[in-house]
Subunit: 132 residues, 2 copies
């Protein structure tokens, strides 16, 4: 629904491949050409070219022509949306966990007060795997 959904899709999808992550890490030490970028990998040049296309489509890198080469570099702010989402995720993750802790405390309180009606924390834990 949010208009940024596609952007996030592309960014995370681009990051979900070890070759592409390695390419990004390599670009951290400065812009370089496709051939140089491809060198450490065992796959064909067209394969690398496609990975670069994916990264470019995800706005994570830029390629600009320079003589017969194409200079690849990290796209400034290209990681922003993904970073922002992850930062939000980090907060709600920890928040959720602290809520859970709180809830467990309440449960404990409640059961100490002796109201024994329905104190199921993990209801009916019986033997799972009954043979058919």
């Amino acid at each position: 629904m949010t208009p940024s959904a596609e952007i996030l899709d592309r960014a995370f999808s681009a990051l979900a491949d070890p070759t592409r992550r390695a390419i990004l890490e390599r670009l951290a030490s400065g812009p370089t050409t496709v051939g140089e970028l491809a060198e450490p990998f065992d796959i064909s040049l067209p394969a690398i070219s496609k990975h670069l296309a994916v990264l470019e489509r995800a706005r994570l890198i830029r390629r600009e022509p320079e003589a017969q080469w194409r200079r690849c570099s990290l796209h400034p702010d290209g990681l922003r949306p993904a970073l922002d989402w992850m930062d939000r995720a980090r907060s709600f993750w920890t928040e959720s966990l602290s809520n859970l802790a709180e809830y467990l405390n309440e449960e404990q309180e409640e059961s100490r007060h002796g109201s024994s009606r329905n104190t199921r924390k993990k209801a009916g834990r019986r033997s799972k795997k009954r043979g058919v």
Copy 2:
């Protein structure tokens, strides 16, 4: 190469889908059942079930049986590897950009000194090769 590559693959891949991201956000407000989780979406229950399987395989959620339901919750620390990678990416991204700025400054300096041979800002200057 790193043994964590697959873990990151799965995490980012899991995050690369808006339905799954929405599910995670929903889980931020506390554990819930599959059915409840599926309710806001337009897709079938089996589809949701598969999304949950993907999230579980990526260690982002946990599902534990509870009566005839399965209670889904965020997996504590499940986001850790992805968060760590992203934090590293954030640093090397900005580092790389500040290096770029530095480099542009040097270029400018150089051209101010009047050495008019080949003062193209975008050519020359390859192979900086500062091992990071």
